[in-house]
Symmetry: D2
Subunit: 343 residues, 4 copies
Amino acid sequence: MTKRVRLALIGAGRIGRSHAKTLAFQTPAAELVVISDLDADAAKVAASECRVDRWTSDVDAVMSDPSIDAVVVASSTSTHAPLIIQAAMARKDVFTEKPIALDLQATDAALDAVEAAGVRLQVGFQRRFDRGFKRAKEMIASGALGRIEYIRDAMRDPEPAPEAYIATCGGLYRDMTIHNFDNVRHLMGDEPEEVFAVGTVVVDPMFAKYGDVDTSVITIRFRNGGLASIDNSRRAGFGYDCRTEIFGSDGALWVGYTRDTPLLHLTPNGVKSDHVFWFLERFGDAYVEELKDFVASIQDNRPVSVTGDDGRTALAMAYACEASRRERGFVPLGRFARGAIPA
Amino acid sequence: MTKRVRLALIGAGRIGRSHAKTLAFQTPAAELVVISDLDADAAKVAASECRVDRWTSDVDAVMSDPSIDAVVVASSTSTHAPLIIQAAMARKDVFTEKPIALDLQATDAALDAVEAAGVRLQVGFQRRFDRGFKRAKEMIASGALGRIEYIRDAMRDPEPAPEAYIATCGGLYRDMTIHNFDNVRHLMGDEPEEVFAVGTVVVDPMFAKYGDVDTSVITIRFRNGGLASIDNSRRAGFGYDCRTEIFGSDGALWVGYTRDTPLLHLTPNGVKSDHVFWFLERFGDAYVEELKDFVASIQDNRPVSVTGDDGRTALAMAYACEASRRERGFVPLGRFARGAIPA
Amino acid sequence: MTKRVRLALIGAGRIGRSHAKTLAFQTPAAELVVISDLDADAAKVAASECRVDRWTSDVDAVMSDPSIDAVVVASSTSTHAPLIIQAAMARKDVFTEKPIALDLQATDAALDAVEAAGVRLQVGFQRRFDRGFKRAKEMIASGALGRIEYIRDAMRDPEPAPEAYIATCGGLYRDMTIHNFDNVRHLMGDEPEEVFAVGTVVVDPMFAKYGDVDTSVITIRFRNGGLASIDNSRRAGFGYDCRTEIFGSDGALWVGYTRDTPLLHLTPNGVKSDHVFWFLERFGDAYVEELKDFVASIQDNRPVSVTGDDGRTALAMAYACEASRRERGFVPLGRFARGAIPA
Amino acid sequence: MTKRVRLALIGAGRIGRSHAKTLAFQTPAAELVVISDLDADAAKVAASECRVDRWTSDVDAVMSDPSIDAVVVASSTSTHAPLIIQAAMARKDVFTEKPIALDLQATDAALDAVEAAGVRLQVGFQRRFDRGFKRAKEMIASGALGRIEYIRDAMRDPEPAPEAYIATCGGLYRDMTIHNFDNVRHLMGDEPEEVFAVGTVVVDPMFAKYGDVDTSVITIRFRNGGLASIDNSRRAGFGYDCRTEIFGSDGALWVGYTRDTPLLHLTPNGVKSDHVFWFLERFGDAYVEELKDFVASIQDNRPVSVTGDDGRTALAMAYACEASRRERGFVPLGRFARGAIPA
């Protein structure tokens, strides 16, 4: 049996505990060695859940443990970049929740450290590991759709997050649309050239307080001439809306998702079905698959599937959309290219 | 321009008026000459609606008018057979609403008259003219499904007809299932050998008063070894349920039908769509097409698409199901073959 | 019986013959008196099909016939405005195929004439009469969706029209998107404030020859703060793509349409269904309903359901999109307001 | 933390290894102590996969180990009953794959032993733990559908199992329909009174060699007057067909399942989707849930959810169907009641 990859989990919040269980119980190639959290009790609870012997509030001890091959960073967003840098300097591979950082400067610093150290960095765009989207990408790559001409990518949350979250999340584009940015770029198989963003506040005036929008439509022009459109809302009401339509010269592909269970309830007042309510239900399997893939990349000594540059480009697209909204016009992505941003 | 077929409509009730409009406004090859009804006022109203100059309560005058090529019989069921006989003797082609009669003796007398006169007789199994079922039959006939092994045919009315209707309609099998009998036989492309029927009264005790059932499952074995199953209910509650599944050695075909409009209403309490409520909505186009086809068979001097024998066999299947229910066992169709029934 | 409305049909091409049949056979309140076409033979053929006694190539004779109440204009686009003006001066109500004209000047001249004469003018936005869209509008109007926040309106033709058509049709926005402009405005129940259009040529370089695009995404901001997005393509490949999603504060409504027949074909290589191929299949009933409604507005002496201003606003939105494409920025609708355009 | 339940797995074949992984990695309340198989190597491989220290080919050693609380029986069918008896005598709770045995005598002996020992016995009808069916049962139990009148239960395998399997599996009814027997009885919430079975051989003449059928329709009458119909085939061709329709006095519920991924591929030749191919894909989660539920019943000291009597009744229904097929008539379930079968 191949040697298992020894991992530490940093950050024992909701997504951290989910990752811990995946590593402990669903990834045979992984050995979850230690769980770290600023709050030692939280770390202890998570470790107990996963039958992991070690827990700690001392992240430095984790980073300096030479027996640990890789870290999974699931702590709060502002700590991602410093932890990535620390892990890179300790020559550990890193899986980080998205985003790497809320600003490009910190992102670039993290990427610089990763490149200098030659370690792996995978960003948590879990959608790429969903069976539906994976199959869509395969079909596109096989040429079954011909040349991709237009992609429509919709995402709506069931309801707005609490104000405390909204106040610090970086705004709609960095927090939510970032998944769509990666998705359309991945499916188009090409780089965006310019973006145009329109936003509005119709769901809750609270968003305006933070200079944010709650509803938005973005148009993206790619280098190959293809177009994409992303529509977002902070509140769908009916559940989690996540659908993608891909139109090619030889056919189209719709990745739809509506029902939670395969039940139709037929009544005198109409036919009712349920709707998947939350992204964790929709992408539960994908969250497992992304960690398995990360661990496999280490075992197989191959590059990761979702790179730091993928994470950075999605953030640059968010920057460009914010600029477009301010300037009411197209914004070229080149304005936010890696060299173009002062540290 | 080819000479138009001159038709008389007999019976100006709901379905009669519908047929009249089809002939008057949607069948260019037809000329609706006169509308006849026992109730002269009803005939007059229908004629006015259709801009037809003649109406009458004297059916004999219609039958003796040599300028009339064909009659459409849409009067009450007990008059179908006598009118068919009268029309046949007057050398007129006949389109009759189903059933030819509620008993086999009257049916056979009508068929005898039609055959002796050498006129056309088409029975109103409108489902054969529905685009979905027509396409299904074409695909089966093309061999796309291979050998047909099993057919499931479901039909449920939204709610029971009034007791006055139930009391005289001939019972579930002759009144309602008769459409399914024709459908499974048509799609299987083979003759039934024996049937087994199970019925129950769970919708309304009223049905028991008439020795009838309101819910039934029938199993049919065909000569070619194929099976069919028919499930009926007098009350679906949610609308008109009409679905057919055809399983062949090389594939399956499902003729489904659910929504009335292409609307999905997404709410916090689930996703809602509507449901087609009534057979007139489901088969509106088919009712038009069957008359067009009948008129075309006269103009083109070709046999009709749905014969008197088709109508008789469906009725014989109803007889066999009634016998099966009484005898709690298989009943061979041969027991009700044309020669086997004393006049 | 109320007096029937006496109508003349002008233009016996494809859509004209369809309208003629609707008036002759499916609109009891209408009497189709005469069919006119520059090509007398075409007029004769159409009249014969519809059992109309009069046909002519002399449109002036039609216009000067005082027994004619209304005209249906289905001739080539460039003749719409002059014919509307001529009919208005003759005090006849007018139903015209869209668009009124390809330019705003001619459109305004026609509207001026109609207003001066006090006659009715209905524009052929048939989609408003589709059962699905009608029901959607009713639900929105009833408040069931709350405040409308975002509408996505998609339309794709199965394949590009011939080059001869493309060369003279006025371009994507005036020819095709004009239906979407009316649709989103109608469903939003509000006036557009500004538009932003992005177009590209990816289907066929032929479109570039005419300064046209074949694929486009438009973002519209309404006065009420709501947004809409329209995506079009001249070639879907798989059939006619026409879907609308309406998101409100209290729910969403999707007007979808995919299958042509209710058939599912299940094979070892997957499950297959068909797709509606052409707008005439999708909107066949709506084309009938719009004429019935026009005739009813005359009989009932009420205003029409789709006004000349509706037609003008849709054209102004096309102008604004063209300007936006040239200027790469938002264009306010006010720039093309009725008073703002010199004759 | 509550003490974990210590389990042994017996039988390291395909389903056994699946159960082992579930216990080892997905059931925190379970501790998988040892894996036993007649083939020691198979046991060793499975143990290694699951990081279980002990494996053995000596089932007696497992049964006599007082530290083991419960056994999961996943060995070949003929060994189920003897192992259940042995485990019961050793005072261990038992989870057994279906069926308990292929004959009622052995089944009754196992039930007798279980009852005498007072241990738990759960039978592997995984469908009860599927989210869709669980929700359906909850809705029925809540009264949302009113009185259940008719259930249609369809199941088809993608293709026939190999002849070697068919020869010894006990025939269609004991091997395959047994899942449907449990399902319709569970959903109806009532006991079957009599059954009527029709079978045919149309898929492969091989089935006739073993006195078996490959296609079957069964009608079931329940004590409450409700009806059910089950249609099976050994070969659907297109994948795994598993759908249930439940009709009640106040509404209907359809548990459908078609697509494997949420992808629609739209092409000029039609719209294609995929289909779930195999029951392991359809019921993967249910196989996990049934074991979790069994372990929870031990930890919570409560009765199991699917009892030995449930397993026995399903087998008795298979016996009755076989008799019905021979006798060509209804067969009452009473004929195969527990006391009525000589040991």
